[in-house]
């Protein structure tokens, strides 16, 4: 299937769409359409008048029409400013909307993150899809139902309180003959109904009307399993990814990165690519790229072009083996002790027993399944951007800035990309494509090669964690300190709204503004004297760095929990307690403890104090470990059961048991699959993943040098216990189950071997060395 598309494809009028005139042009996998220029010209100056207006109100968060449309055939379209990364968020949102509107689930389509049809609700961010995005869509859908029922009441001449809605048909309770449907009421026109908007954009955007959402006890659609919408297209190869976008006149751009980090561009030797016809080199300050009509020509030209870089030799990264000492000794540029209670220093000084431990966690790469890709047509009006970035609204602002145009002049369309787990390389590709499209005056598609994707994507920051704990003479834990010292978790920001946070912008010399922060464990253990905080150190290299740091799935969660959950097990052992009993004793709330009880019961946990060691056969020892974490209100406990091959050092997680609570569950099947994916990615990170680097380059640049979990690593079982709390608001699920996995595996390893792994990842080589040392 070829996909030659033009911006015109997106210009079918939204009125046609609403009329259901067969004009729901599904381009690139369900991208919607906006008002055509003609239609816009016709209605320019015209004002949206009253309920059922034929003129679309402006795309502003204080308009109901910015979120929901009822088509002439009764189908419902939701315009959502977040997107689904393959975990079924769109399904969950459609469920919520169908529930509140009282229409069948099948009638609702949720379109995501096209800046031309949705307002900025923050994109995929912080697992807030349901928590905040869903909350907003719920009250708005409820308001849509309210105004439709009021209108029906007028038409039927009865009080609204006497009406009920069944699958989009409003009728008089007990007299189905008196009825009118949503479709009849609106006839494909607009609500033109004002909402109260909190004047925020992004995650915090909240708009609402007067309606109160349904009581949970009345739910028929929310809480039920519905299958994903996108699965078949992906399985039968008909889904188009951002890499598949083709626009008429499009050319292929490839950016060339410096071989030595920190070097400056001096020039290039054009004759080195004269064997490839029709290639243009674009150079601007430290940015250099090739552009060709044909992708293969561009690939070869980027490979063959001789580029002269100077000013290298600074060796900004030092030696890999010195990484953690570097962190320990580096100056602190910012610090914060977010959680403090009592006087931890005094308590430790007076403790009967003091434990101290340090843990180390490396840089990690997003290593998305494919190198990032974007297409930009800078000559179009509006400028068109197709991106796999999980924050397409922000990316469109960034592209506008890059092009020195006003914020609203870029239409950013999100198209599924090759995976996204935070701030990966997607936004870099968008800025590069924008710059090149402006230079060559044509639509430009940019995609990297593998070594660029893994070598140059933003990295999760490396860290050292310092833990101290004190026990009194009775074995009660009385003091706990947890301080991380680390690289900035947002040396480049997690959204792409500023060229300075992207490689192209940095190569052009943009002024930098790193965020300088890290995180602390959540304050979940009830220990009287405590201090939980962090210190951030400067980056090795402030710009154009293959070790620039930003958000990777559950930012900082795997790092912190690798340390903190191991350390709590150490405290438990010192206190002579079983790790499960310890958590039941010290976790603050009943709601936390419910997770521990559930996971221990499901896994058939047998209490133990300290490691059992030597369970299993001659060359394979087995163990089980528990870890617990909270993440922005969601709660997850994990028990890992591991087998360690003592000859090879290979760890296999035979089984995970997960208990998960995120308030009201919208879709249990989607949630279970999301958790099962999270735990495997998290196991990959703690067993295998480590960015390798030399003094001035990243050397882990493909799947051989940056290995991840493969089929033999797959657990035999991932048992999931979902704890539904219909009485509590829904919380996120996209990331929380990533969080405790590193600690659970390390604790299981300790149970199996009696050896503490204080440095991640727990690769076969590192495990072998640790076992030899004993």
């Amino acid at each position: 299937m070829t996909n030659m598309i033009s911006p015109k494809d997106f210009e079918v009028s939204r009125r046609d769409l609403l009329k259901g005139a067969g004009a729901l042009v599904v381009v690139m996998g369900a991208q919607p359409v906006v008002g055509s220029k003609k239609a816009a010209a016709k209605t320019r100056g015209a004002k949206a008048m009253g309920f059922g207006s034929k003129v679309k109100p402006k795309l502003i968060p204080d308009q109901l029409d910015s979120f929901i449309a009822i088509r002439a055939d009764g189908k419902v379209t939701a315009f959502f400013g977040k997107m689904d990364m393959g975990q079924g968020l769109d399904v969950a949102i459609s469920q919520i909307i169908a529930e509140e509107l009282d229409v069948a689930f099948e009638k609702v389509t949720t379109l995501m993150s096209d800046t031309g049809t949705s307002v900025n609700q923050g994109g995929a961010s912080g697992s807030f899809g349901v928590k905040w995005g869903g909350r907003t869509m719920r009250v708005i859908a409820a308001e849509a139902r309210r105004v439709l029922v009021e209108e029906a009441a007028k038409r039927l001449g009865v009080k609204a309180a006497r009406l009920e809605v069944n699958d989009g048909v409003v009728s008089v309770k007990g007299d189905m003959s008196k009825k009118v449907s949503y479709a009849d009421i609106l006839q494909g026109n607009y609500f033109n109904h004002k909402l109260t908007w909190n004047k925020k954009l992004g995650n915090r955007l909240y708009s609402h009307g007067k309606a109160k959402p349904k009581a949970v006890k009345d739910y028929r659609i929310v809480g039920k399993p519905f299958p994903r919408i996108d699965v078949a297209g992906k399985v039968f190869g008909t889904t188009d990814f951002v890499t598949d976008i083709k626009v008429p006149g499009m050319v292929h751009g490839r950016v060339i990165h410096p071989t030595r980090a920190g070097s400056k561009l001096k020039g290039y030797d054009a004759s080195s690519i004269k064997h490839i016809k029709g290639v243009r080199v674009v150079q601007k300050k430290d940015f250099i790229a090739v552009v060709a009509d044909n992708e293969w020509d561009a690939v070869q030209a980027a490979r063959d072009l001789k580029v002269h870089w100077t000013g290298g030799g600074k060796k900004p990264f030092g030696r890999q083996e010195d990484l953690y000492d570097h962190i320990r000794n580096a100056p602190v540029i910012k610090q914060k002790n977010r959680f403090k209670g009592g006087d931890v220093d005094k308590a430790l000084a007076g403790a009967a027993k003091v434990l101290a431990a340090e843990f180390e966690f490396p840089f990690q790469s997003h290593a998305s399944m494919g190198p990032a890709c974007a297409v930009v047509d800078a000559g179009a009006n509006p400028v068109m951007l197709w991106t796999g970035s999980q924050k397409s609204h922000y990316t469109s602002y960034g592209v506008a800035k890059m092009l020195k145009m006003p914020k609203g002049s870029v239409r950013g369309i999100w198209v599924p990309g090759p995976g996204s787990y935070g701030r990966n390389d997607a936004g870099d590709a968008a800025m590069q494509a924008a710059l090149l499209s402006k230079e060559v005056g044509k639509p430009v598609r940019v995609q990297g090669m593998r070594h660029e994707g893994t070598g140059w994507d933003p990295k999760a920051p490396a860290s050292v964690h310092f833990c101290r704990g004190g026990l009194d003479a009775q074995g009660n834990v009385i003091a706990y300190e947890f301080i991380s010292k680390a690289f900035d978790r947002q040396n480049v920001r997690s959204n792409e709204s500023q060229p300075r946070d992207n490689l192209a912008g940095q190569a052009l010399g943009a002024k930098l503004k790193p965020r300088k922060f890290f995180s602390e464990p959540e304050n979940i253990y009830n220990i009287p004297d405590y201090r939980l905080g962090w210190k951030v150190i400067p980056p090795f290299l402030d710009r154009n760095s293959p070790l620039r740091t930003s958000h990777l799935r559950d930012p900082i969660g795997p790092q912190i929990q690798f340390a903190s959950e191991q350390f709590h097990d150490e405290l438990a052992e010192a206190a002579g307690m079983d790790p499960v009993a310890y958590r039941l004793k010290y976790l603050r709330t009943k709601r936390d403890r419910a997770l521990i009880t559930a996971v221990a019961e499901k896994a058939g946990w047998k209490p133990r104090v300290g490691p059992r060691k030597g369970q299993g056969g001659k060359n394979t020892v087995s163990g089980r470990g528990i870890a617990y974490a909270r993440r922005s209100g969601s709660k997850v406990a994990v028990i890992a059961e591991v087998e360690v091959d003592t000859r090879s050092g290979q760890i296999w997680v035979r089984k995970f048991t997960v208990s998960h609570e995120c308030g009201l569950i919208i879709n249990p099947d989607g949630l279970t699959l999301t958790i099962q994916g999270n735990v495997v990615m998290a196991l990959s990170r703690v067993i295998y993943e480590e960015v390798m680097f030399g003094p001035d380059e990243v050397t882990s640049i493909d799947w051989d040098t940056y290995p991840i979990a493969e089929s033999p690593d797959t657990p035999e079982a991932v048992d999931v216990v979902l704890i539904n709390r219909p009485d509590k608001p829904s919380m996120g699920a996209g990331e929380p189950s990533t969080r405790p996995v590193s600690g659970a595996i390390a604790n299981a390893f300790y149970d199996a071997t009696g050896v503490r792994m204080r440095t991640a990842p727990m690769t076969p080589a590192r495990v072998k060395a640790a076992l030899a040392k004993g």
């Binding site: 299937m1 070829t2 996909n3 990364m85 393959g86 975990q87 299958p227 994903r228 996108d230 699965v231 078949a232 297209g233 992906k234 399985v235 039968f236 190869g237 008909t238 889904t239 188009d240 990814f241 890499t243 598949d244 064997h275 490839i276 044909n294 992708e295 293969w296 690939v299 070869q300 290593a367 998305s368 399944m369 494919g370 599924p416 990309g417 090759p418 995976g419 996204s420 787990y421 995609q447 090669m449 593998r450 699959l673 099962q676 994916g677 999270n678 735990v679 495997v680 990615m681 998290a682 990959s684 051989d704 991840i708 979990a709 493969e710 089929s711 033999p712 797959t714 657990p715 991932v718």
Partner: protein
């Protein structure tokens, strides 16, 4: 860079004439010259499987296979393997188990599993794990993938 040559390719049962550098990887010809998007560029290094297609029934990595080398051979891509109306059992199982997250890798897993099970669906868990080694899924859908492949194996063996 070799001189472009005109060649006929047999893909998904259709014949396509393309004029391309015979050393160019087959992946680029499929995606750009023939317009079949379902094999993806993941690594270009035969390390991930995202580009997998069948050539004469064998799963190969099209990112490192010169297009010139498949002249006269039968190339099948994911869309040629099966359709929603006539799915390959592996595809049916992947839908039933709701496998893909981002889905970018899925082509590789389905094409590789399909070849493996077409040859012999009576495989043990260990053999299936070994047969799929070398494929990557960054989203971590491994657990669902193995469930789906076993489901397909069962369906094909019966």
């Amino acid at each position: 860079m070799a001189k472009p040559q005109r060649m006929r390719l047999n893909v998904n049962g259709g014949h396509f004439t393309v004029t391309v550098d015979p050393d160019m990887p087959l992946l680029y010809a499929l995606r750009n010259d023939i317009g079949l998007n379902n094999p993806h560029f993941g690594c270009g290094l035969a390390q991930c499987g995202a580009c997998t297609v069948h050539v004469n029934g064998k799963a190969i990595r099209s990112c490192v296979t010169p297009v010139g080398s498949v002249r006269g051979k039968k190339v099948v891509t994911l869309t040629g393997l099966g359709t929603p109306e006539k799915p390959h059992p592996v595809q049916t199982a992947f839908v039933e188990e709701q496998v893909p997250q981002c889905g970018y890798c899925i082509n590789g897993w389905i094409m590789t599993a399909a070849e493996m099970l077409n040859k012999n669906p009576k495989l043990s868990d260990k053999q299936i794990r070994a047969g799929l080694k070398g494929l990557k899924c960054r989203c971590g859908t491994h657990f669902a993938i193995l469930k789906a492949v076993k489901r397909a194996a069962k369906a094909m063996a019966s």
